[in-house]
């Protein structure tokens, strides 16, 4: 079995970690170590440390949280390069705490990384740079692969189509090219955050509705409040509706 085959067949979470690490490495190369490494280290160690500690207290067994590693990487890759240390620390802590405290119907409801980013936007007034996507083509390629592995192409497509149509129509009405709507899609967000399995609906049809809703929220936000980061707000709104979707859509 060659290395590619080995990576392809391994655990999905590890594949996502690999993909995010590649994004991080490319971003670091583009922005310089000084602007990128500190927040990666702070965010990842905070998330893993806190999550592992909380789970250890519950299970009384040593635990290494790979999902916290994913959350930590996402947070660091979205926050602005060279940001003050207390913001990745807070965002990662909020992410992990939200995962263990905000539960409706037995699951945690908010995508942890997304929730951490959202609250730090409102608490610290920080903006998001999404520097995990310094190379658009790489994100498109590896993002599609990971989404395929997660079996979530339908979810990404439902978001993609909804936002393209709604925002495209809005652009046309404003006298701008329809295709500009595709240029507004946050690839890092749709391939890495939208597909998160635990905070999206259980059933396929539900996930399509979830994708459509997120795309609609995002389009409205882009059209009305351009200075607000549309993706994280849209995802948090859809996260809130997941219990309703799960109870109504059973296939």
């Amino acid at each position: 079995m060659n290395i590619v085959e080995k990576i392809w067949k391994t655990n999905i979470k590890n594949q996502l970690i690999l993909v995010l690490s590649i994004f991080a490495a490319v971003g670091m190369f583009q922005l310089g170590i000084r602007n990128s490494l500190p927040q990666l280290v702070i965010s990842v160690t905070t998330a893993i440390g806190l999550d592992s500690l909380i789970i250890y207290k519950k299970l009384k067994k040593p635990f290494f949280s790979t999902s916290a590693l994913i959350s930590g990487l996402i947070i660091a890759l979205a926050l602005p390069p060279g940001i003050a240390w207390h913001i990745p620390l807070s965002a990662a802590s909020i992410a992990i705490f939200s995962k263990h405290t905000i539960h409706i119907r037995g699951r945690h409801n908010f995508n942890p990384a997304n929730f951490g980013l959202l609250l730090s936007m409102f608490i610290f007034g920080t903006y998001l740079a999404w520097w995990g996507a310094t190379n658009t083509w790489l994100v498109l390629l590896l993002g599609t692969l990971i989404t395929y592995r997660f079996k979530r192409i339908h979810l990404v497509l439902s978001f993609f189509i909804t936002q393209s149509i709604l925002l495209g129509t809005y652009f046309v009405l404003k006298g701008e090219p329809f295709l500009n709507s595709i240029l507004m899609i946050n690839l890092f967000f749709i391939f890495v955050m939208l597909i998160e399995p635990k905070t999206s609906p259980i059933h396929r049809k539900g996930r399509i509705i979830y994708g459509v809703l997120t795309g609609a929220f995002s389009s409205v936000l882009i059209a009305t409040i351009p200075t607000l980061d549309p993706s994280v707000v849209a995802l948090a709104l859809s996260n809130l509706l997941v219990p309703v979707i799960n109870s109504k859509v059973k296939e």
Binding site: I7, L18, S21, M28, F29, G82, Y127, A133, N135, L187
Partner: protein, 162 residues
């Protein structure tokens, strides 16, 4: 077993790229050579020329961006999907800086974390950002409004020289 193998592979890859990144030469601002015409001049004329040039350089400081207007360094900067122009801004430590920023297409923003600056740039409007360059070094600036797929690579460097 498989899990740990993959983590090791990821780790090695990351460290390799990290080291690569560390050893990469940062492309700094190239100084423009002052083009000088060689001509036959008397000693006196040469001296006058030299003095005038010194004066001129101290006023426009070719190694720095923009121009000094009433003691403030004014620099024009344009934002569009997905780049800033110029991408490198050079100022002198201690001087007052006024960035005159403008977006040419959609709403962008200019965020300089090290200086706690975040100015939103609605399309077509000139916005003034004033600060004193108290910290020397190379600082990253980034677009501070999500503006599309290339938002992640929309950034530049502020160089504050001693």
């Amino acid at each position: 077993m498989k899990k740990s193998t993959l983590l090791i592979v990821a780790g090695i890859l990351l460290i390799t790229l990290l080291l690569y990144g560390c050893t990469r030469k940062e492309h700094g601002q190239e100084m423009k050579p002052v083009a000088e015409q060689e001509s036959a001049m008397t000693e006196y004329a040469e001296e006058v020329e030299l003095k005038e040039r010194e004066k001129r350089v101290s006023e426009s400081d070719e190694e720095y961006s923009g121009n000094k207007v009433n003691g403030v360094r004014e620099i024009k900067i344009e934002a569009r999907q997905f780049a800033f122009e110029p991408v490198t801004i050079v100022v002198k430590k201690g001087e007052r800086v006024r960035l005159i920023a403008k977006s040419l297409d959609v709403t962008h923003g200019l965020g300089i974390e090290a200086y706690n600056i975040d100015q939103k740039l609605p399309p077509g409007q000139e916005k003034f950002i004033e600060f004193t360059a108290v910290k020397s070094g190379k600082f990253h600036f980034h677009c501070s409004v999500y503006c599309g797929t290339g938002h992640g690579k929309m950034h530049g460097t502020l160089i504050v020289k001693e």
